[in-house]
C-alpha cells in the first residue's frame, strides 16, 4: 500500500506519516502542495492520497479535481484532512468525489476508522 501525504506544514505531514506507520502503512511519500503532488501521483503508482485543503500553489480541492479528471488516477481513493469546517466546502469536496473528510484536530482512531471505511468500500 503506497500512500502520498500532501500538506504544506512539515509537522502535520510527519504526524500523519507516524500515525499511518502505526496502522501498518510503512510506504508513504510526502509533498507540500498540489503542484508537487500531481506529478508524483502521475508517475508513482500510489494507492491512496491523503491531502490538506488550504495550501499555497495548488490547493487540495483542485488536486482532487485534477485527480478525478485524469484517466489513470480517477479511481484513486482520496482522504481529505483539513481545518476547513464550512458546510459548503465539505459539500464541494463530496461533489468533487472525495472518499473521506477528516477535520483537524483529529485523533488516531478517526484516521483509522476513515481509512477502514474507504478500503471497505473499494473492497
Amino acid at each position: 500500500m503506497k500512500i502520498l501525504v500532501v500538506d504544506d506544514f512539515s509537522t502535520m505531514r510527519r504526524i500523519i506519516k507516524n500515525l499511518l506507520r502505526d496502522l501498518g502503512f510503512n510506504n508513504t511519500s510526502e509533498a507540500d502542495d498540489g503542484l508537487t503532488a500531481l506529478p508524483m501521483l502521475k508517475s508513482g503508482n500510489f494507492d491512496l492520497l491523503v491531502t490538506d485543503w488550504n495550501m499555497p500553489g495548488m490547493q487540495g480541492i483542485d488536486l482532487l479535481k485534477e485527480v478525478r479528471a485524469d484517466e489513470n488516477l480517477k479511481s484513486l481513493p482520496v482522504l481529505m484532512v483539513t481545518a476547513e469546517q464550512k458546510k459548503e466546502q465539505i459539500v464541494e469536496a463530496a461533489q468533487a468525489g472525495v472518499n473521506g473528510y477528516i477535520v483537524k484536530p483529529f485523533t488516531a482512531l478517526i484516521l483509522k476508522e476513515k481509512l477502514e471505511k474507504i478500503f471497505e468500500r473499494i473492497g
Binding site: 512539515s10 509537522t11 510527519r14 504526524i15 507516524n18 502505526d22 485543503w53 488550504n54 481545518a83 476547513e84 469546517q85 464550512k86 458546510k87 459548503e88 466546502q89 465539505i90 459539500v91 464541494e92 463530496a94 473528510y101 477528516i102 477535520v103 483537524k104 483529529f106 478517526i110
Partner: protein, 244 residues
C-alpha cells in the same frame, strides 16, 4: 458658518447714499472711508468663520491624537509585531519538530521492547507449566539476557521524554509574545474607531464575508462562523446526508 448679518439695513442704505454723494462731489477721502466700512462688515464675518474653522481643526487633530503614537505604530510597533509573530511561528515549529524527533526515536524502542516482553511472557508461562525442554530453557535464558540489554534503550526513551517536556516551554514564550500583539491590535482598533468618528463616516454594521471560495482556516471557538460544522461527528452526519 456664522450667521449672515443682514445686509439691507437703513444704516447700510444711508452709507451707500453717502458714498454716491462723496463720489459725485469728488470727495475721495470720505468715499474710501465708507468703502472700508462696508468691506469690514464682510471681513469680520470671514475672520470669525476662519477662526472657528481653525479651532475645530485644531481640536479634531488633538482629539484624534496625531501625536507620536500613530506614526510610531506605523513605523515601529506594527513591523515589530510582524517580527514577533514570525518568531512565534518559528518557535512553535521548532518545538513541534523537537517533539516529533523525540517521539519518532522512542516509538521503535518501545514497540520492540513490548514485543519481546510479550514473547518472554509466553515462554515463561510455558516454563512454569514445565513445558520447556532443557534446550528451550537455555534459549529462554539467552533471550532474557538479550532483553535486559535492550532495556538499556529505555534510558534514551527517558531522555527523549525530558526533551519533549522541555520543548513545551514554547507555550510560555509564545503566549507572552502573542499577548503583546493583542494589546497592539487593540490600540490600533481604538485609533481606527477614532479616525472613523473624525471623518464622520456612519458606523456600518460589519458585513460577513460569505463567499464560498474563501477559506476560514482552523475554527476558533469564540468566533461564530456561519454554516460551519463543529467536529468530526457533524462532518460525518453531513456527508451521510449526502449519501456517503
Amino acid at each position: 458658518m456664522s450667521e449672515q448679518k443682514e445686509l439691507i439695513t437703513d444704516d447700510n442704505i444711508a452709507r451707500v447714499k453717502d458714498l454716491l454723494v462723496c463720489l459725485e462731489k469728488g470727495n475721495e477721502m470720505d468715499a474710501i472711508e465708507i468703502i472700508d466700512e462696508l468691506t469690514s462688515i464682510r471681513e469680520t464675518e470671514l475672520y470669525q468663520d476662519m477662526g472657528k474653522l481653525t479651532r475645530e481643526l485644531h481640536d479634531a487633530i488633538s482629539n484624534f491624537g496625531i501625536d507620536d503614537s500613530i506614526s510610531l505604530m506605523a513605523e515601529k510597533s506594527i513591523p515589530d509585531a510582524r517580527e514577533r509573530l514570525n518568531y512565534v511561528i518559528s518557535k512553535t515549529d521548532e518545538a513541534a519538530n523537537k517533539t516529533l524527533e523525540a517521539v519518532e526515536e522512542s516509538i521503535p524502542v518501545c514497540s520492540e521492547l513490548s514485543q519481546q516482553a510479550s514473547e518472554l511472557h509466553n515462554s515463561w508461562e510455558q516454563f512454569t507449566r514445565r513445558e520447556l525442554s532443557a534446550d528451550q530453557f537455555r534459549a529462554l535464558s539467552k533471550d532474557i539476557t538479550g532483553f535486559f540489554d535492550k532495556t538499556k534503550g529505555l534510558i534514551g526513551v527517558k531522555d527523549n521524554l525530558t526533551e519533549v517536556l522541555l520543548a513545551q516551554e514554547y507555550q510560555d514564550l509564545t503566549g507572552q509574545i502573542i499577548k503583546k500583539v493583542i494589546n497592539l491590535v487593540e490600540e490600533v482598533e481604538n485609533k481606527l474607531v477614532g479616525l472613523i468618528k473624525l471623518t464622520g463616516a456612519p458606523q456600518v454594521s460589519s458585513k460577513e464575508d460569505d463567499s464560498a471560495s474563501s477559506l476560514d482556516g482552523p475554527p476558533v471557538p469564540s468566533i461564530q462562523h456561519k454554516d460551519t460544522v463543529s467536529g468530526q461527528d457533524e462532518v460525518d452526519d453531513l456527508l451521510s446526508s449526502l449519501g456517503f
